[in-house]
Assembly symmetry: C2
Homo-oligomer: 332 residues x 2
Amino acid sequence: METYNIAVVGTGAVGQELLNVLAERNFPVGDLKLLATERSAGKEVEFKGKKYVIEETKPESFKGVDIALFAGGSASVEFAHHAVAAGAVVIDNGSAFRLDPKVPLIVPEVNPDAVKNHQGIIANPNCSTIQMVAALAPIHKNATIKRIVVSTYQAVSGAGAEAIDELMEQSQQCLNNNSVEKNVFPKQIAFNMLPHIDIFLENNYTKEEMKMVNETKKILNDQSIQITATAVRVPVVTGHSEAINIETVNKITRKDAIEILQQTPGIIVIDDPSNIQYPMPIDVKGKDEVFVGRIREDESIEKGLNLWVVADNLRKGAATNAVQIAELLIQK
Amino acid sequence: METYNIAVVGTGAVGQELLNVLAERNFPVGDLKLLATERSAGKEVEFKGKKYVIEETKPESFKGVDIALFAGGSASVEFAHHAVAAGAVVIDNGSAFRLDPKVPLIVPEVNPDAVKNHQGIIANPNCSTIQMVAALAPIHKNATIKRIVVSTYQAVSGAGAEAIDELMEQSQQCLNNNSVEKNVFPKQIAFNMLPHIDIFLENNYTKEEMKMVNETKKILNDQSIQITATAVRVPVVTGHSEAINIETVNKITRKDAIEILQQTPGIIVIDDPSNIQYPMPIDVKGKDEVFVGRIREDESIEKGLNLWVVADNLRKGAATNAVQIAELLIQK
């Protein structure tokens, strides 16, 4: 079997999940390089029973690498072009290249063919975008979506492993009636909600909200879809939830939507109100699929639908999607 | 000073808050009767430094009562008509009478004049409706709202004092890696989200969602406003949050909306992205106002706006609004 030399850049929450997913999906990994900042260099990490020592990422780190998976943050801004120059294909979970017209932005179930147009860098979309687009693309294909209004309920793990620790520590501090310490988030996240993810932009939206707007249009290859988003951080460890309202050109019933979604690979419909069944963050941890429920015709307009979409933000929202892109690459 | 004999029916989270608000606002309370189910009868509760013994609610409990404040649940279904027959005016925080055409449904800042039409029973709206209508009514007056898409983030205290205990206990169980015990909510609420408040109806919406639709139309006295809602329970103790998207007949800018809301009694605008200021549940506890922030023109339609609205669901969402209705009554 042909194998591919892989570099994973970043060893935090998403980096670890990339290794898990590569192993679980039996990706044909040849040599494996674990790269990170100086702070993490020297630490040992296990992959398929073998120990690897994390190296500091340097411009020359990518010699002999076939696919470089960047876990996120700003590492790709500094090193992606070095990786490409060394002959690697970069799959970047960071946001820097996503809207670059030369860079494909891919959800494999939605626009797999875009992989053919890469010029060395392929972008993995934002976590909240991936699960929304995965759920909406089959509906868009059938009924043509005109407008999306989305409100998110995003887990802290999207902000990294330290954010998980902060939620746990603050929760214990609250339960003990102690004062709460803040390091990762600008406000207390335990037993609270922050309508604030990523930085605020000039139009008063956050960067997270505008990612959902702009990335969705690019992935669906349709600039006419109108989107507005409110992104909210919630005291959940893993699993982003989204309340999505859509207006369509053609009428789509609850029954139609359920049938279409049930036939879509990568989507699991959990929608049984009479048995109190709907998707929830605690049930999606470790899962690669996007879970859809609470499907209801919107009675406020002629052709509209409400959906509740939940996925593991570290898996389908990051690592799984990136490895699926790598799988597309090696199929070619 | 004229005083009024008051009965408070229900001594849970909302009942206790009714006593707090009556005391804080110096409502001219004459005799005070605390009524509850047999289970709570005999317990002592303090009001303004004096102890009162809870009595079991009976048809004959309302003799001499001027105003009977029902905290919620089904007590009013059984006893409201007895209270009215005894000469009391009922202010009911339960949902049974809200859509009855003979029963005014009041948010005092929005439709105070409706109090004049009561026939013995006045309904307090649902918590999630009150804060939405309070924030939207001044915008509706200025720009005429055509459609509302709302997603809620509702605190557990809306489900009573036992629900608060359950969130605290489950959170500790999770932090200790113990299994989680469920009594109040059908699913784990700690570190989780339930897109499920109140029962499911035939149209696949929950009763909570349809309350927001139907009560809003009644309070604004405008059946033409189109509304769709998704109601979600979140692991927050107190303070409901709402991501609200509106479409208006006339264009309203962010600047206009801020000015209008700043001039509205009972509304506090917290909207300063550059200084990371926005409303959050932990900041509204014990407050009587409705807090509005994240005000943004919706770029997906010509005339639309997004808002983030937070209020203490036990205060403005229940007790404060009920006592404000009582204040309207005695002004008459």
